[in-house]
Each structure stands twice: as structure tokens, then as C-alpha cells.
């Protein structure tokens, strides 16, 4: 009986941990003024919850309970250490008097905590290669391993960047606040980049068995909504549109067995019409501002797909045109690759293949599996079986993602010998 209760509480806590722990952490950082102390307090709070909730039941507001318990544990721990370290006495007093009842704080302040956390993690005083892992770790709760894979680097490297960033936040006293109105636009760019990376981590997880990790995509979309509420800048609007339009295809991009389905083969009746409608309206809003950038352009491309009844009925000329604009504002080999695929749809596979070969010849995307699988697909359509086989095999060797591996293996098997 007791064991059953403990088991049930553990399940409830797991759910609460994944949905609320970042929010609790964000508030604890504000209350305690220190990342490490807040993390320790967060884990203490969940440990106490496991014991106490099994006995007394789940509190009415679990998040507020966790915040006040975490804060209490942190102050209690500090008070004990203060007996041996006089420098902590003042700090304990300060913490006890400030925000004495966190549950009574207005919801707006608590909601802002995540925004404070985002802007602090994306502070320009932190090196760029630390801003993104900091946000993914602290705001989104990704593990160091997941971040390392997303950034094609080693977990100890990521861990070290996070440790150094936290030390700089503490030692240089980078404040925990939403930037002032004058600084906000500049500071937003870094935040948008991070939000989109989070979305992509959820939309196309860098490794493992499941292609989509909807919780992260949903988190990124939620962050996107919060951002445009705070600062309705065209690019923030464009980014939200892009995420919604991509997410609208989620149900259609994998089969019931978890296999990848390409855009051209997707059952478009499965696309989420509400997300598309919202995304299209947002693209329109961002485009009319005339101050848009790369996110809005990518969203405009996604919008052309969303409006097409089939792959064949897609306005590929418009897509190529949008890619040309995008390359002008943000030159990148991955965008070049996408343009090559669109050109193949407009002008035929040979035109696209010539462009992909030129990109690969520069060595830019030699280790990017999608470059090889796109090349393989065009070779297949041109009837160049040997080349297609070699390219599929190369793509297969380069991807860690299970559904993509299965997709490539299937394509490989389907090639006529």
C-alpha cells in the first residue's frame, strides 16, 4: 500500500519535473541570486516532495510549494554554514527578508522569471559558444550530452563552457533581469537564435529512437509566444511563424512505426490547420513590417509549402526566389543546399545535382548527412544507380538519428540492383 503511494507520487513528480522544474529553477535563481544554489535547492525540493507528498498528499499548487521549499532548504543550509562562515550571516538575513513569501508574488513576476533567465543566459558578456548551451541547460533542462550532440562537440567541452559562464555571471555580476527598452532589440537576436535551436532540438532530435521531441518544440513555441508578447519585433514574429508552420507537419512527417516521411510524400490532411492559419497570419504580419530578416524569409518558404495542395502543385519558382533573398541576408552552405533542392524541383534533378556537387566540391557539407541524401535522391531520379547507392551509404554512415537511418536503409534497399 505505502509502496503504491510512493510509486504514484514518484510518477506525479516525474511529470511535474518535466513540466515545471525549469520554471521553479528560474524563480529560485531570482530568489537566491545564484545559479548553483538554485539548482541544489531545486533538487532538494524534489527530494523533500517525494517524502512529504507520500505522507501528506500532493499540494494544491505544486510549483509554488517547490519554490518555497527549495528556498527554505537553501536558506536553512546557508544558515548552518553561517555558523562557521561569518560572511554568510549577512546573506542569510538578506535572503530571509527579501520576497519573504514567494507564493504571494504576482504571476507576472513568476512568468518573467523564465524571460530573465533567457536574457541572462544569452547575455552578450558571455561567449557565444556558451550562450546557447547555457540556455538549453538552464531554461530547457537539456542534458549536457544532448547539447553536445546538437552542437557536434564533446560533453566535457559543453560542461566546461557552462561552468565558466556561470562563474562569469556570478563574478562579473551579470544581473538577472529583462534588459531595458533601449537594449532589448540588440539582446533579442541572440535569444531568437537560441529559441530556434531549441525548437530544432525538439523537432528533429539529434540522436535516439524518436524523431520528434514535442515537449521541446512546444517549449520553444511557448518561448516564442512569450517573446512576441514582450517585444513584437518582426523577426520574433517571423520565428514564431516558422516554428508553427514546421510543427504543423509533425503528425505527417513520421509513419505510425516512427519512420520518416518526406515533405513530398506526406499526407497533407494530417497537417495541423490551426497552426498553419496562425503561422500564415504571422508571416504576413512580419513581411508587411519590411524590417524582416532570415527567420521571416524561412517562414515565408514554409508558408508556400503550407498553402500547396501537393508537392507537384507547389510554387517552386517562388521558393527559389525566397531562397535567393535568404542567401543574400544570410549566406550559408545549408541554405545553398536547400536552394539546390528547390531548383531541382523547378528545373529538374540535373540542375539541382550540379549545384549540390559544387557545394560538396568546396568541402563545406562533406560531413552533413542531408547533403549526401539529397544528392542520392537526385542521382536516383536520374537513374544513376551506382552513384545513388554510394551517396545513400555515405548519408547512412553520417546520421545518428534512428528514423533517418531506417529511411535511408529503405531507400537503399529499394534501389534496383
Amino acid at each position: 500500500m505505502t509502496e503504491n503511494v510512493a510509486e504514484r507520487i514518484r510518477e506525479i513528480l516525474d511529470t511535474i519535473y518535466s513540466s515545471e522544474s525549469r520554471q521553479v529553477l528560474a524563480t529560485l535563481i531570482r530568489l537566491l541570486g545564484d545559479f548553483d544554489a538554485a539548482e541544489e535547492a531545486l533538487h532538494d525540493a524534489f527530494a523533500v516532495a517525494l517524502e512529504q507528498w507520500s505522507r501528506d498528499g500532493v499540494p494544491a499548487n505544486p510549483r509554488a510549494w517547490l519554490v518555497s521549499t527549495g528556498r527554505f532548504k537553501a536558506i536553512d543550509g546557508m544558515r548552518r554554514r553561517a555558523r562557521f562562515d561569518a560572511s554568510l550571516v549577512e546573506l542569510v538575513k538578506q535572503l530571509e527578508s527579501s520576497a519573504s513569501d514567494p507564493e504571494a508574488r504576482d504571476d507576472e513576476s513568476v512568468a518573467d522569471d523564465r524571460l530573465r533567465l533567457i536574457f541572462t543566459c544569452c547575455h552578450p558578456a558571455l561567449p557565444p559558444d556558451a550562450q546557447v548551451p547555457m540556455t538549453l541547460r538552464e531554461v530547457c533542462g537539456l542534458t549536457t550530452d544532448e547539447i553536445a550532440r546538437a552542437f557536434l562537440t564533446r560533453p566535457p567541452t559543453v560542461a566546461q563552457r557552462i561552468v565558466r559562464a556561470k562563474a562569469k555571471i556570478r563574478d562579473a555580476r551579470i544581473p538577472y533581469e529583462v534588459p531595458s527598452a533601449t537594449d532589448l532589440p540588440d539582446r533579442l537576436d541572440a535569444v531568437l537564435r537560441v529559441v530556434y535551436l531549441v525548437f530544432n532540438e525538439g523537432y528533429s532530435a539529434s540522436s535516439g529512437g524518436s524523431l520528434t521531441r514535442h515537449d521541446l518544440s512546444g517549449e520553444a513555441i511557448r518561448l516564442g509566444r512569450l517573446l512576441i508578447e514582450l517585444l513584437p519585433e518582426p523577426e520574433a514574429v517571423g520565428l514564431l511563424a516558422l516554428m508553427l508552420l514546421q510543427d504543423s507537419r509533425r503528425a505527417a512527417r513520421t509513419s505510425p512505426t516512427g519512420d520518416l516521411i518526406l515533405l513530398e510524400n506526406q499526407d497533407r490532411s494530417l497537417w495541423n490547420r490551426d497552426q498553419i492559419a496562425e503561422g500564415l497570419a504571422l508571416v504576413e504580419r512580419a513581411l508587411t513590417s519590411r524590417r524582416f530578416g532570415p527567420y521571416t524569409l524561412q517562414a515565408a518558404i514554409a508558408a508556400v509549402h503550407a498553402e500547396a495542395l501537393s508537392a507537384a502543385a507547389t510554387d517552386w519558382a517562388r521558393i527559389v526566389g525566397l531562397y535567393n533573398l535568404l542567401l543574400r541576408v544570410e549566406p550559408s552552405p545549408v541554405i545553398e543546399l536547400n536552394r539546390a533542392v528547390a531548383v531541382a524541383m523547378r528545373d529538374g534533378p540535373l540542375a539541382g545535382l550540379t549545384m549540390i556537387d559544387a557545394i560538396l566540391a568546396r568541402g563545406d557539407l562533406a560531413k552533413y548527412h542531408l547533403a549526401h541524401s539529397a544528392r542520392a535522391d537526385l542521382c536516383r531520379r536520374l537513374g544513376r544507380r551506382v552513384e545513388a547507392r554510394a551517396a545513400y551509404e555515405q548519408a547512412l554512415a553520417l546520421t545518428q538519428q534512428e528514423p533517418e537511418r531506417r529511411f535511408l536503409a529503405r531507400r537503399l534497399a529499394e534501389l534496383p540492383g
Binding site: D171, A172, R173, I174, P175, P179, S180, D183
Partner: protein
């Protein structure tokens, strides 16, 4: 918290300015210094003579060697030092961003948070008094 601001300036650029341009710049700088001082944000400020008057000391071959010139031969040279008292880094950035020296584009500024040596000094005192007792 104290933030040390190191202002780097290209001497040649400064030399090409007309006298009235220089005076206008200097007046603006001093006026803003007064504002900072009045609000308690300016703990200290020193302007440096040019790198031509710099002397560099090194310990080499068992003795102190004295040479002419700055330690680093760069285009921009350290021209002034500010010590700001600010609430946090954003506050320090805000205060310094409004300085005519930054706004005018003549200075490149580096902000270094001051290191708190209280604990280090206390430990050192403990070590030194222990040595004395022996």
C-alpha cells in the same frame, strides 16, 4: 561593486583633431565625469600621459631592467582608467555607454570587474602572523 574601465585610444587619431574639436571633447568628458561623481558612481579616474613617456620594468638575469616604451606595442594604447561603482554589470555598461569618450568613438573600452581580495588578504595576514610567532 567596482568595475575598472580601461580606455584605449589611437594617439594618431587624437593628434589629427583640431584644437576646438579637442576642447569640445574634453569639456563633454569632464562634464559627464562630474555627473558620475555627483551620483557616487565615479570612484577614481586617471588620464595617462602618452606611450612615449611609458617605462617598462622587467626582472631579467637577476636584476630589474628598465626600458623605454609601453609593454605592448599596439595601435591603440591605454589612455585612461576609470573606476566605476555600479550595481551590476548592466549598470556599469549603461554608465560607461553614456560617456562621451565611448560615444564619440575615440576610445575602445574594456570593463574588468574588480576582484574581491578580502579573503585572500585575511589568509595572507594569518600566514604572516604565524611566521612571526615562530
Amino acid at each position: 561593486m567596482k568595475y575598472i574601465c580601461l580606455g584605449y585610444i589611437e594617439e594618431k587619431k587624437w593628434e589629427t583633431k583640431s584644437e576646438s574639436e579637442r576642447n569640445a571633447f574634453i569639456d563633454e568628458c569632464f562634464a559627464y565625469d562630474d555627473v558620475l561623481r555627483k551620483n557616487g558612481h565615479l570612484v577614481g579616474v586617471e588620464a595617462l600621459q602618452g606611450p612615449r613617456n611609458a617605462i617598462t620594468l622587467r626582472f631579467q638575469n637577476g636584476k630589474v631592467s628598465v626600458t623605454d616604451g609601453p609593454y605592448a606595442e599596439t595601435k591603440e594604447q591605454l589612455g585612461g582608467i576609470f573606476i566605476l561603482e555600479a550595481k551590476d554589470l548592466n549598470h556599469a555598461i549603461q554608465l560607461l555607454s553614456k560617456h562621451p569618450g565611448v560615444r564619440g568613438g575615440d576610445f575602445i573600452n574594456e570593463i574588468r570587474p574588480a576582484a574581491d581580495l578580502t579573503e585572500m588578504i585575511r589568509e595572507s595576514e594569518r600566514r604572516r602572523s604565524a611566521t612571526k610567532e615562530k
